[in-house]
Symmetry: C2
Subunit: 197 residues, 2 copies
């Protein structure tokens, strides 16, 4: 690095501006090392979440469709969800959510970290990406009776195409990107033919 970039120092404790159902807007002061002055930043947080690309032994993706309130539409995503308590191991969250949302269990799991901050300026919350290979259906979907999730088993080719054209959930695309070297090796995929315009 030519410039000497520095990590800013947090000054004092954060203040909760508002918080409800696990979502919080907080204020935190930082000392800007360039000016020496304090600056206030407003940050969002909620418990971390996990996302998983579940693939069956014959190379099919277990995708889900679900209404999401933020984007206000039915979106195609990957299974996953939020931790039930602080510091719940991300792989445990992933296995629970995968089973509840789809009825599938993972054969082997690859941690595709490092975790992602959905907005690096504004969020303290992380998303943890995983690849689950040799997934098998072992149970029925077991979501809350007020939830409605549709499982759709599609080819890897179709999933990657959807990531280029329809998917609006960055966690799903990051997870897929990070999984590409493993998928290529495991299924002898030709990435040049998968990524075409």
């Amino acid at each position: 690095m030519k410039k000497e970039l520095k990590v800013w120092e947090k000054v004092g404790e954060p203040t909760v501006l508002a918080g409800k159902y696990g979502s919080k807007l907080i204020s935190q002061n930082f000392k800007n090392p360039k000016t020496g002055k304090e600056e206030e930043y407003v940050l969002y947080t909620k418990k971390d979440w996990s996302t998983v690309l579940p693939v069956t032994s014959d190379g099919k993706v277990v995708s889900i469709l679900q209404y999401k309130q933020g984007c206000n539409q039915i979106t195609r995503e990957l299974p996953g969800g939020t931790g039930e308590f602080d510091n719940e191991p991300p792989a445990d969250v992933m296995r629970r959510e995968l089973k509840e949302e789809t009825g599938y269990e993972a054969g082997s799991v690859i941690d595709l970290g490092p975790g992602q901050y959905p907005m690096t300026r504004e969020t303290l919350r992380q998303m943890h990406p995983f690849l689950a290979l040799d997934c098998k259906k072992v149970a029925e979907q077991a979501v809350d009776e007020t939830e409605e999730i549709e499982v759709e088993i599609i080819s890897l080719q179709e999933w990657i195409k959807l990531c280029h054209t329809k998917v609006i959930e960055p966690g799903a695309i990051v997870t897929t990107f990070r999984a590409l070297p493993y998928l290529k090796k495991h299924f002898s995929l030709d990435l040049n033919s998968l990524f075409s315009v």
Copy 2:
């Protein structure tokens, strides 16, 4: 679809729980079509932002390093930033931020939409991804004197490797994923050799 997934109806107006410097935590009621009951959701919003993968004519990526307050570390990202007003065209935001942060201008631009909701359940805010080809340096960096951004010009190979190992900003990875078919064509890239474990 086997299940009849429905878009939930918003009930009443949103209430701002807290808002400061453009970030807002709001409450919105929705009618759950499965139960017919009203449920309250807490959502985060701020103006949309744009991200750009800027590539020079010889296939180098114009990446940046910057301290970000949310993740509390110096992160490697792509240029981009937030709109200055509601509904500012995302391509305009992208061109302005690219020039301010790096001094580069785009030759040709490809819109890599659809835009992404960083958290589809919790955010109303979108990120708009772009690819900028044939980028040229036309000016000096022109960031606010309190900001510090380091520009680093690296090979596409190195950038893609960083996306697998170090990058924690999903917008940068989504933009790169969406750009792959165009990069492959433009630079005759072999994706099979770029994505290896």
